[in-house]
Symmetry: C2
Subunit: 117 residues, 2 copies
DNA sequence: TTTGTAATTAACCATATGGTTAAATTAAAC
DNA sequence: GTTTAATTTAACCATATGGTTAATTACAAA
């Protein structure tokens, strides 16, 4: 039921840094160059390059070539894997809560039967 | 529109390790002790204690006391924060795709008008 | 072919992660 | 009060992260 895919390690880890989430948020609005992505971030370009490698490793972005620019594109699939894992997780605890709810109702019903005796 | 909450750093980072995801999956089925959680994992108890601290820091679990046991409980809220971030993200790129779709339809309509001239 | 711009690589550094074993703590049970 | 079980802390180690500056590469434009 629950997803143990190894890709999730790289995906969740990549999402764990605010600069990388900011980059993904920017890329959600469309392709962007390295400098575009760096502009709102308070760090050097080499630092940005490193973050991009982390995002690439997780396949959260892909890259292309256009003259001296290396534009980045968002890839949705890994984000789907991540939210699927959370959804599977939610199903597990929701079914547990349902069983608990059921059990409490049974208890309540039995206590009323007991009172009538 | 997009969520920049600092808690997300700790949450996503915590989800980035398979042992921690396994622990959360186990806790989805109900409270468990440290040894319960350690049992299927190929690592020492101190290592498990450390992973539990990471999960606690992210508020993904809470803990209680029962004699010499320290049972752990899943906390759903942080998982909701995480999936909300992904959902917000999805909204951003879906609206972009909608605009692109719209644009392509307009282009197509205009090309037909052009052909008629 | 020189110059300018975009981006990456190299080298370095500090701190965090993820693991270990051995010792200490906590609390029940004998 | 001694023993036993569950868990944590301490000390240590290797590797990964996240940043820097300086040098290098890639490419267009003059």
């Amino acid at each position: 039921m629950v997803n143990y895919k190894a890709e999730l390690n790289a995906i969740f880890m990549a999402l764990g840094h605010p600069a990388r989430r900011a980059m993904l948020a920017r890329l959600g609005k469309g392709e962007a160059t390295v400098s575009d992505l760096a502009q709102p971030l308070d760090m050097s370009l080499p630092a940005v390059t490193k973050h991009l490698k982390v995002l690439e490793r997780a396949k959260l972005i892909s890259r292309s070539k256009n003259a001296q620019w290396r534009p980045c594109q968002l890839q949705e699939a890994p984000l789907n894997l991540a939210s699927d894992w959370i959804e599977d997780q939610r199903k597990v605890w929701e079914s547990r809560l349902d069983r608990l709810d059921n059990y409490l109702h049974t208890l309540h019903a039995n206590s009323k039967k007991g009172a009538k005796k």
